[in-house]
């Protein structure tokens, strides 16, 4: 029994390999890109719009509002990163409804990659917003004694992001696999449904946490003081 789609390798050349995780990710990317392109290819700027456009607008606006609620005043700048995090994870988890599908988020490599993205995105956005000096200063707040703890926090929360998502999705998949062998009728369906819910919740949690980290990094210290 394969615990991770990483283990299904189609092609290998030394360090480079083409496994199920990457292929599934490509598929998801393709679906997202094509659907987006297909719907947005003739967007209407009128008051009357198509249902698909309306659906996409609802998704985009909801993400935008979520980012804004967390405390980022200019969500348009961050929606590319945070929105894509959510959409990718949500889509990846949603596709478990297809048979023989293995979510790429069930691979620790993928979750680690996403967590690393967040890890790098936080200082990237922080520096672009406040400048490198101000951003680095935030590590010695409130005192310099806090510097190691801040650094440890930075690393540990990235680790936690990766493990949390991976653990949840992987466990969901394993539970279904186990139940299939124990009680193959009905129970896997229920567990799959629960897995679907978990997947959505995890997508939400992942992207919200990423937003919170970014928000904390880009928050204006001056405005905070006042």
């Amino acid at each position: 029994m394969k615990l991770s789609p990483d283990e299904t390798v189609f092609w290998e050349y030394g360090f480079i390999n083409l496994n199920l995780t990457i292929v599934t990710t490509w598929a998801i990317m393709l679906v997202l890109a094509i659907v987006s392109w297909w719907i947005t290819r003739n967007l209407k700027k009128d008051i009357q719009i198509s249902r698909w456009q309306s659906l996409l607008e609802i998704i985009v606006i909801t993400i935008n509002n979520q980012i804004e609620e967390i405390g980022i005043s200019k969500p348009a700048k961050y929606i590319g990163f945070i929105g894509t995090l959510f959409l990718f994870i949500a889509t990846a988890n949603l596709f478990v409804i297809f048979p023989w599908y293995q979510a790429p988020t069930g691979s620790i490599s993928t979750t680690a990659a996403l967590a690393l993205c967040v890890f790098f995105a936080v200082p990237f956005f922080g520096i672009s917003e406040k400048g490198i000096q101000d951003y680095l200063k935030s590590y010695v707040q409130p005192t310099i004694i806090m510097l190691p703890f801040n650094l440890i926090g930075e690393v540990s929360r990235t680790l936690a992001l990766a493990i949390r998502l991976f653990g949840n999705i992987m466990s969901g998949g394993i539970i279904v696999a186990i139940l299939l062998s124990v009680a193959p009728l009905l129970f896997p369906i229920i567990m799959n449904a629960i897995g679907l819910l978990t997947g959505m919740v995890q997508a939400y949690i992942f992207s919200i946490l990423a937003t919170v980290y970014i928000a904390a990094a880009v928050k204006n210290t001056k405005s905070m003081k006042t």
């Binding site: 967007l43 209407k44 996409l56």
Partner: protein, 265 residues
């Protein structure tokens, strides 16, 4: 379960590509469309607001005009009413004056007519009375009546008081002409004598007499001497009657005129 670092790197790349793709195909167009729509809606709202404002201004203008119009209408109506009232009063006054004038004229005409009528009646009555009297007396006239008249005349002569007698004597003495005695009928010599005798007694002289017949006297005798006239005849009574009737009719006429005037008031 281990981390495959190649997969990690690949997934990072994949993720970055996906971010770019979704930015390109999803967020940007959608957000742009939303912005454009919001702008459009805002523009429309602003336009609607402007239109509303314009409509309000026009509405206000309309109401103001309406009010002005109403006020003007009211004023015009009031003017017309006032003018009509004045005109009505003027016309009424004129009509009243005209009516009064007409009434007066009418009253005058009525009065005139009445007067004429009364006059006509009076004359007619007078004529009737005279003609009746005349006719009666003429019919009655006879020697007997003559003698009665002559007797009455003689009695009158005798009854003359002192001042009258003096006047008579004075006027007779200044004239040498004969005394003229006129009568409707030829006096009998007896009465001629009696008259002569009575006059002689009064005058104390023997007087010449001239006796004439004058039918106009109707029934009576008249004695004339130098402007002085002594007479008795029925025509005197008739004159007196005529005078009385005239007075009476005048009185009646005056009363009638007064009544008409009172009625006009």
């Amino acid at each position: 379960m281990k981390i495959d670092w190649f997969t990690v790197i690949a997934q990072i790349l994949n993720f970055v590509i996906l971010v770019w793709l979704l930015k390109r195909f999803l967020y940007k167009p959608i957000l742009n469309a939303i912005d454009a729509r919001e702008k459009k809606i805002n523009a429309q709202l602003a336009d609607a607001e402007n239109k509303k404002l314009e409509a309000k201004l026009e509405h206000d203008e309309f109401i103001r005009k309406n009010e002005t119009f109403d006020a003007e209408k009211q004023q015009l109506m009031q003017n017309v009413i006032d003018e009509t009232k004045t005109e009505r009063e003027r016309l009424l006054k004129e009509a009243r004056i005209d009516a009064d004038a007409l009434k007066t004229k009418h009253a005058e005409a009525l009065s005139e007519m009445q007067n004429n009528l009364v006059e006509e009646y009076k004359q007619h009555m007078e004529q009737e009375v005279f003609s009746i009297s005349k006719k009666t007396l003429i019919d009655l006239a006879s020697v007997d009546l003559e003698s009665k008249i002559a007797e009455t005349f003689i009695k009158q002569l005798e009854k003359l008081n002192e001042s009258e007698k003096n006047n008579f004597v004075q006027s007779f003495k200044s004239d040498s002409k004969p005394m003229i005695v006129q009568s409707a009928f030829n006096l009998s010599p007896e009465f001629q004598h009696k008259i002569k005798k009575t006059v002689d007694e009064i005058l104390g002289t023997d007087t010449d007499f001239e006796f004439k017949v004058e039918p106009d006297l109707i029934a009576g005798i008249e004695m004339t001497a130098n402007g002085y006239k002594l007479a008795w005849s029925i025509s005197e009574y008739l004159d007196s009657l005529k005078k009385t009737i005239a007075e009476k009719t005048d009185e009646i006429r005056k009363t009638a005129t007064k009544k008409v005037k009172d009625a006009n008031k």
